[in-house]
């Protein structure tokens, strides 16, 4: 499955990253190299193998429903690049 420039642009946008037009070609070549290597996986037939998401099989523990956290808005906001009136502020979003 070869990756073309348009695909690189799409992946970059989905990742919210910018690739300058003059770097597109290089990026494409590099991705194709990496995916050619990754496609070695196709040497193995895995049609009867169940996927594995995690190495540990702990059962999910549930937390009691109690308010034990929050109520420290200053700490929530203190690292914000822009905060006004106790809100995080971003450029106007046009719906």
């Amino acid at each position: 499955m070869a990756i073309d420039n348009e695909m690189v642009r799409k992946i970059a946008f989905l990742s919210r990253l910018k690739i300058e037009d003059n770097k597109l070609e290089d990026a494409k070549d590099e991705f194709n190299k990496i995916f050619k290597w990754i496609e070695e996986l196709n040497e193995i037939d895995t049609s009867n193998v169940s996927p594995m998401a995690s190495a540990n099989d702990v059962s999910l523990k549930l937390r009691e429903d109690a308010v034990t956290d929050g109520n420290y808005k200053d700490e929530i906001l203190k690292n914000a690049p822009s905060a006004e009136y106790d809100y995080f502020a971003v450029p106007k979003v046009v719906e």
Binding site: E40, T46, A80
Partner: protein, 484 residues
């Protein structure tokens, strides 16, 4: 008295109890080493004042007999662990002004046991890299460097370099594909990545959640056992943490290994194996055998697929884990008149090249139309790799392999930088362990002909860290590796 910073943690603890020197003196000695070794670039953030305050408290505790398990031991913390009120950067521009209002569980365990934090150690940006060259704060220099500046390995390069150069008594690291073991090997240190779920991931900046695990890097096996003892344990803030009691790891040190079955994976014995690596691997086998261990040949047939599997799964999780760095709630913010501009400018400037490469690989393998071909395929391969280990462990207690196929290489090495895959291949012996969630330790075994340290890796069954310490301490004793 000779240099007190060269003592191991267990020696230091004995000396502190014996009042040979105070925690404050010790801390000042480390701070002075740090001052003299700034060129190594091991620390991103130093917190001398905080350390001296803690040391004072430790001295009080010793005075009143309230000393805890790690009272007064000065440690370096990989800058991936969030530390309350101490800047935590993940070696990234995007977090270079982030001051967490909370403490990670692992570091808070260490603090509760009386450890002192000297500062935050350099690493590959977001732990993505094997040479520490992707750090926004510049590369760390391997203390073993002579004429040419060498990499310390990565991603926990700062941790390994700081331990090797005695800029801390021990350090925390994290390991997603070899990030504790490979730099430990490159710098002549000992490091262990415990079983997935052994240490809480709460408060550790996430790279690949299903693979990340914290562990210590220290001067010897016993120190690793002591530090892991403190770091490990169940945490209800991490749903993947295991509720299994932590055994007394130090008790395994020096325990007889006769009858212990050591597996040697035949697939790892390839033709192009480095001569030095092969020699020390053989030597290790013989040393263990002499102590009565039984050597078994085992097979890990899918091991050669571990790297491509890893380079699908880890970037996939990373692409999602790193979506939160958007310039809105914390960290660096780029210019942007619209939200999308703001995101793109923030992330394009805030992340380094390797991180961006992995985010894009991860985005691609999860995207519609490619999920089955790459992500699902890799999840299935992960199962096969896991099954290999489980089958192998039917015949043995531990598996012995080299840690890395090479020794530390020069910073800016043309071959490594020419193609990202060249760098990825250095993790060939370590990544499969993360995919299977197993514990594994690297210890220094000797020097290669180029005068640089080589490491051996011992892989254990889930939660068999004790058995690893047992065999590793035996091997350590026989190998007579000489630290800096």
């Amino acid at each position: 008295m000779s240099d007190i910073t060269k003592l191991t943690i267990h020696e230091t603890l004995a000396a502190l109890k014996n009042k040979d020197f105070s925690a404050s003196e010790l801390t000042r000695a480390y701070l002075s080493n740090m001052e003299k070794s700034k060129h190594l670039n091991a620390y991103i953030t130093e917190c001398g004042e905080y350390a001296l305050e803690q040391a004072q408290e430790s001295d009080d505790n010793y005075l009143h007999g309230n000393n805890r398990k790690l009272e007064g031991i000065p440690l370096g913390i990989k800058d991936l662990f969030c530390t309350k009120n101490i800047r935590t950067t993940a070696a990234s521009h995007i977090l270079d002004n982030f001051i967490p209002p909370y403490e990670s569980t692992v570091t808070s365990n260490l603090l509760n046991d009386g450890a002192i934090f000297l500062g935050k150690l350099n690493l590959d940006e977001f732990a993505m890299g094997g040479s520490n060259e992707t750090s926004y704060f510049g590369p760390v220099i391997n203390p073993w460097s002579k004429n040419v500046e060498l990499v310390p390995g990565g991603s926990s390069g700062g941790s390994a370099a700081a331990v090797a150069a005695h800029l801390c008594a021990g350090a925390t690291g994290t390991d997603t594909g070899g990030s504790i073991r490979q730099p430990a090997a490159f710098c002549g240190c000992t490091g262990i990545k415990p079983t997935y779920g052994r240490c809480s991931r709460y408060g550790i900046v996430a790279f690949a959640s299903s693979l990340d695990q914290a562990g210590p890097i220290a001067q010897d096996v016993r120190d690793c056992a002591i530090l892991l003892q403190s770091m490990a344990g169940f945490d209800n803030k991490d749903s993947t943490s295991c509720d299994i009691a932590v055994p007394d790891y130090e008790k395994f040190i020096g325990k007889d290994i006769s009858g212990l079955k050591i597996g040697i994976p035949k697939e790892y014995r390839s033709e192009d194996l480095n001569e030095d690596v092969n020699k020390y691997w053989q030597m290790s086998v013989e040393l263990l055998q002499k102590r009565g261990a039984v050597i078994k040949e085992v097979s890990l047939p899918h091991t050669k697929y571990a790297l491509p599997t890893y380079y699908v799964l880890a970037p996939a999780e990373a692409s999602s884990n790193l979506a939160r760095y958007d310039g809105i709630r914390y960290g660096y913010r780029g210019e942007g008149e619209h939200l999308d501009n703001l995101y793109i400018n923030t992330r394009t400037t805030g992340f380094g090249k390797e991180v961006k490469r992995r985010i894009m690989i991860g985005t691609y393998v999860l995207s519609a139309g490619y999920y089955d071909a790459y992500y699902l395929k890799a999840q299935k391969m992960r199962r096969l790799i896991y099954n290999d280990f489980m089958d192998a462990f039917k015949d043995c207690d531990l598996i012995l392999t080299p840690t890395s196929p090479i020794t530390a290489f020069p910073i800016g090495d043309a071959h490594m930088l020419s193609n990202p895959i060249n760098m990825y291949l250095n993790d060939i012996y370590t990544v499969s362990v993360n995919l299977a969630g197993l514990p594994a330790l690297s210890l220094p075994i000797g020097l290669a002909q180029n005068g640089l340290p080589l490491g051996m890796q011992l892989i254990g069954k889930p939660f068999a860290e004790g058995t690893i310490f047992q065999a590793a301490s035996a091997l350590e004793e026989d190998a007579h590796f000489e630290r800096i």
